[in-house]
């Protein structure tokens, strides 16, 4: 199955706002993407006047695994321990959509040609939507890196953007995946241990508040995200239900030779409009609500990770203090203990300072993103509901005269730019 997307700058389905203060000395975008059988190839285009790039404008082709490699490189880098690392984009997953299209192709003889065409259209739109979303997720990841004053200067980032060849980063094998999984368990256990460590007191109210806040916030936003997904699925379900109803009403209308004919056709037409409406509502809620909630779920996890690193640094500092005291009483290796303690202290303070800034940025990012998306959501809902309502022409009409329905050509909302789309190859 193949698909291409020509994503112009104005067509970006950006439900996530990147730091608006970022200057334009490094602009990154995904200018093209191709979906092949089991992978997606992203064309990453960079425009920059920064000195260490060879050219001012250049592109490379990257796959999902290379993005993950870049993300992990940041996470493992001690330099960035005091920063919120932008969450990695999720793996492109077309499985479900592909399966559905295949099942439709295998054929169900009981549905009419029109119904089949409509269902195919729905599924293709769904596939296209998933595709656009994965492009957006990968793009926003890069753009956040490019906008961050510290992260943008990373050497691996430059390599990622500039190196023409394949980065030869294979996907994690089972051992590495297991290792990652275990590391997470160890991390949570460690976190639990150090928080219960005696003598480890959080001196800063700010961080105390942030910790409580983030813990609760992360859980609740995850909940909200899951439930928003379910609502979206229900809307899609309804849209699918309308297809056979509309078809049955039309054929009932054809059979009648009396005034009932018009009534049936009118109802059939209404269901067809409602189908489109439900489809749009589903996609609006998906983009403006579900995706945003999902992103901030991941981002809040990244913020939690930062807090953990700082806590770890605090624990190390405390331990270094204890070791220094011990060394002083024994009067052995005092020098090493002193320098170690100073190191830990400086590290902790460095982390605390940058963490504070990062968390405040997180908040302002979050607020502006929610604001933008909630406004857009409301506007879209209104736009669609109004187009289907009594204002639209030919809506009610005189039952007996049977005004022919005016097919209103509805414009697709800006989050769904029409791209060049190839029919799936079975």
């Amino acid at each position: 199955m193949e698909g291409r997307q020509e994503a112009g700058k104005e067509n970006k389905p950006s439900s996530i706002s990147v730091d608006p203060q970022g200057d334009s000395s490094l602009q990154v975008e995904i200018s093209d993407a191709v979906s092949e059988r089991d992978k997606v190839k992203f064309t990453v285009q960079t425009k920059s006047c920064l000195p260490h790039f060879a050219q001012t404008e250049f592109s490379v082709v990257r796959q999902h695994e290379e993005f993950i490699w870049l993300h992990d490189a940041y996470v493992e880098n001690e330099e960035y321990a005091g920063l919120i690392i932008p969450p990695a984009p999720p793996r492109p997953d077309f499985e479900a959509s592909r399966e559905k299209l295949q099942k439709l192709g295998e054929g169900d003889s009981s549905i009419t040609r029109e119904e089949f065409a409509k269902m195919k259209q729905e599924l293709e739109a769904e596939y296209l939507a998933i595709f656009k979303k994965t492009v957006a997720m990968h793009e926003v990841f890069l753009q956040r890196l490019a906008a961050h004053p510290t992260l943008r200067r990373d050497h691996n980032f430059f390599v990622f953007l500039e190196y023409g060849q394949d980065l030869s980063v294979r996907g994690k094998n089972r051992k590495e995946l297991l290792g990652g999984f275990l590391r997470n368990i160890v991390k949570s256990a460690d976190e639990a241990l150090i928080t219960s460590m005696s003598g480890l007191k959080e001196v800063d109210d700010f961080f105390e508040h942030e910790r409580t806040f983030l813990l609760e916030y992360h859980t609740r936003i995850r909940d909200a995200c899951l439930r928003a997904d379910r609502v979206m699925q229900s809307h899609k379900c309804l849209a699918d239900d309308y297809i056979p109803i509309s078809a049955a009403l039309s054929s009932l209308g054809t059979q009648e030779v009396n005034q009932l004919k018009t009534s049936f056709f009118k109802l059939a037409e209404l269901f067809e409009r409602l189908r489109k409406l439900e489809g749009r509502v589903a996609s609006d809620e998906d983009l403006k609500l579900s995706d945003m909630l999902r992103y901030y779920m991941r981002d809040s996890q990244a913020a939690k990770d930062l807090l953990y690193r700082r806590l770890r640094a605090l624990a190390d500092y405390e331990n270094a203090n204890k070791a220094l005291d011990k060394a002083r009483t024994r009067n052995r290796e005092v020098r090493t203990a002193e320098s170690n303690q100073q190191l830990c202290c400086r590290r902790f303070e460095r982390l605390s300072d940058s963490a504070k800034q990062e968390l405040m940025d997180f908040k302002s990012r979050r607020v502006s993103s929610f604001r933008k998306n909630l406004i857009e959501l409301a506007e879209l809902e209104l736009k669609h509901a109004k187009l289907q309502g009594p204002d639209s022409p030919g809506y009610y009409g005189d039952q007996t005269l049977g005004n022919p329905p005016v097919s209103s050509k509805l414009t697709t909302p800006s989050c769904f730019p029409l791209g060049y789309w190839q029919a799936p190859r079975n």
Partner: protein, 407 residues
């Protein structure tokens, strides 16, 4: 959230057309309401009693407004009496609502939850529609059993309602139909009208069944949407509580409220989906089964006439044989039998012509009613869908400034 008190829409308002028909001589001045379901008794012997109120200006009734208490089996009893009297002569007797063991058991056992309230309401509405259809039938309206059902305060318990349920009658009708179909003798249809109509009803039946199945799926999924929306509203409210930015927190709470209101809309729409659309379809699916039943009765009538003719022929042959064999007492017997069967043949022909005439009239009346019913309901349903959209607009319009207020 308090549960909305549900009551099905009254579909049978006096429309302009009815008043016109009244002027033309067809008097429909009778309205039936079924209300106030009340549980009587306890445990497995408990039953629901419904109040049946009649409002009429017809002179055949002693009062202009009166009501009685009836239970479900009384309705089934009424239907079985009417069916046994009128079905086989070609009248389309409206079928009674279906029995439901599961639904009724829940009510008996005393579960006061929303599903048993829904069940009782569904049944009440169905009983009301059943009676309305029955009294709008000019012939059935004259029936003394119907009058007794509506008027008398005490009604003898209908026994053995197992066989008397609407489904039971239909099963009997369908068995008869199957029997007729299995007969090898093909009826010489002298009247193409009957063949056409039968085909028409067959098509209509198939399409209504298909549509009904799809609408049932719609009702189910809309209820799911409502439940999911309510769940999301709760989690949005929780998220709003967590959020430490004041304006955003408020906006999220507002979002939660909007979603709650939208959930309410979905519930109301699901209600309309069901009571207007789905129930109409299922009523007509059962009505068409009754129509098919009368057509089959006509075939059986024809068969009876045909058999009589064949028997008459045989008797005449016997007479001829007796004449040749010269057995005077046998000849007399044969002559008697011939007279007997000539009468039967004539009766058979009369019956067949009568049932054919009745069916023609009945089908005409049925079709007119069907068109009216569907039109009325479709308009009402369209209205409900449009109203839902209008409400949605109001809710989102109220929310938009809240979202914009996030500083």
């Amino acid at each position: 959230m308090e549960s909305k008190s549900i009551s099905a829409p009254v579909i049978f308002d006096r429309s302009r057309e009815e008043i016109e028909e009244e002027a033309n001589g067809d008097v429909f001045d009778i309205e039936i309401g079924v209300s106030d379901p009340e549980k009587v008794g306890d445990g497995m012997n408990a039953y629901m009693a419904y109040r049946v109120t009649t409002k009429t200006s017809l002179s055949m009734f002693s009062k202009s407004e009166f009501s009685v208490k009836r239970r479900f089996s009384d309705f089934l009893g009424l239907h079985s009496k009417l069916a046994s009297k009128y079905l086989h002569v070609g009248y389309i007797v409206p079928p009674a609502p279906e029995k439901s063991i599961v639904g009724m058991t829940k009510v008996k056992v005393g579960k006061e939850d929303s599903s048993s309230t829904e069940f009782v309401e569904k049944r009440r509405a169905a009983l009301e529609r059943y009676l309305q259809r029955t009294v709008k039938h000019p012939t059935l309206l004259q029936d003394p059993d119907l009058r007794q059902f509506l008027e008398s305060s005490e009604l003898p318990r209908a026994v053995n309602t197992q066989a008397l349920s609407g489904a039971g009658i239909l099963r009997m009708v369908n068995k008869a139909a199957d029997a007729v179909n299995k007969m090898t003798i093909k009826m010489n249809e002298s009247d193409a009208w009957f063949e056409e109509k039968q085909q028409q009803f067959e098509n209509l039946d198939q399409q209504l069944r298909k549509l009904h199945a799809s609408v049932e799926a719609l009702v189910c999924h809309r209820k799911e949407l409502s439940a999911n929306t309510a769940a999301f509203a709760k989690s949005a409210a929780m998220l709003g509580n967590s959020e430490d930015h004041t304006a955003l927190s408020r906006a999220l709470s507002q979002l939660a409220e909007v979603e709650e209101k939208i959930d309410q809309l979905h519930q109301e729409q699901a209600f309309a989906d069901f009571y207007m659309f789905s129930e109409l379809l299922s009523d007509y699916i059962r009505l068409i089964a009754a129509v098919k039943g009368v057509f089959d009765h006509r075939m059986k009538c024809w068969q009876k006439w045909e058999d009589a003719q064949i028997t008459l022929l045989k008797k005449r042959e016997t007479e001829a044989k007796m004449m040749v064999a010269n057995k005077p007492d046998k000849i007399q017997q044969a002559k008697n039998e011939i007279r007997e069967w000539e009468a039967k043949v004539q009766q058979g022909e009369r019956d067949f012509e009568q049932i054919s005439k009745t069916i023609r009239k009945e089908v005409g009346r049925f079709e007119a009613k069907r068109v009216k019913d569907f039109k009325t309901v479709i308009i009402k349903y369209l209205e409900s869908l449009v109203q839902t959209q209008q409400q949605l607009i109001k809710y989102w319009e109220a929310f938009l400034p809240e979202a914009k207020a996030i500083a």
